[in-house]
């Protein structure tokens, strides 16, 4: 029962995040909403295992939690540099001297 209530709450949250993804005036709103919907889906997948009585399948939630990050980073990098292959954006620029 408690799993069912939690599932409903998470589904509502997914719905609201998706509504923001459709409405979102800027592309940033959409990225944020999709990231949040992804988090909600990780929660949903975790609770679903308990709801269905076989909680052995948390691997899927774990996978998604790890891989969602890759997707978001790719989108942000695409935004900033217009390319996925640019070398070492993490390093400080060489021209800048402290």
């Amino acid at each position: 029962m408690m799993y069912a209530v939690t599932t409903v709450a998470i589904l509502i949250c997914i719905g609201m995040a998706m509504a923001r993804a459709f409405l979102g005036p800027s592309i940033y709103d959409r990225i944020l909403a999709i990231n949040s919907a992804g988090t909600c889906i990780v929660l949903f997948l975790s609770v679903l295992g308990f709801l269905m009585g076989r909680p052995d399948f948390l691997d899927i939630a774990l996978t998604y939690a790890l891989i969602n990050f890759t997707g978001t980073i790719a989108i942000l990098k695409f935004f900033k540099y217009g390319s996925l292959g640019v070398s070492d954006p993490a390093a400080p620029p060489k021209t800048k001297v402290e």
Binding site: M52, G53, R54, D56, F57
Partner: protein
Amino acid sequence: MFTALFNYWVVIVLMMAGLYIVMASGHLVKKIIGLNIFQTSVFILFISMGKVAGGTAPILKDGISVFSNPLPHVLILTAIVVGVATTALGLAIAVRIYEEYGTVEEDDIAEMDNHDQDLDIAEYQRIESGK
């Protein structure tokens, strides 16, 4: 009736939405997105057919006797990975087209092709008449 066939109806709507994107959109990458949606609808169709009411995932465990059908799962599991590989192939073709034509809009490409063809015909006619 409604609940019993709802999955299949959604599959049909998704399939048609994918087909619509492929037909209506002129952008090649958007067309590939449409193909992806179409393909996913087929996946959902197969998995829906494999579901058995009251069954659980086909992983053996003590005390569980009703399982869903594992065969569609196997077919679709491999199909997803093949699907992403073929999507990459389609995108590679789109990229090469862009590098040749400078655009991936279907109409522009067709126009450039027709223009080339017209030039070829004019050239041919010129040679013919000259002879």
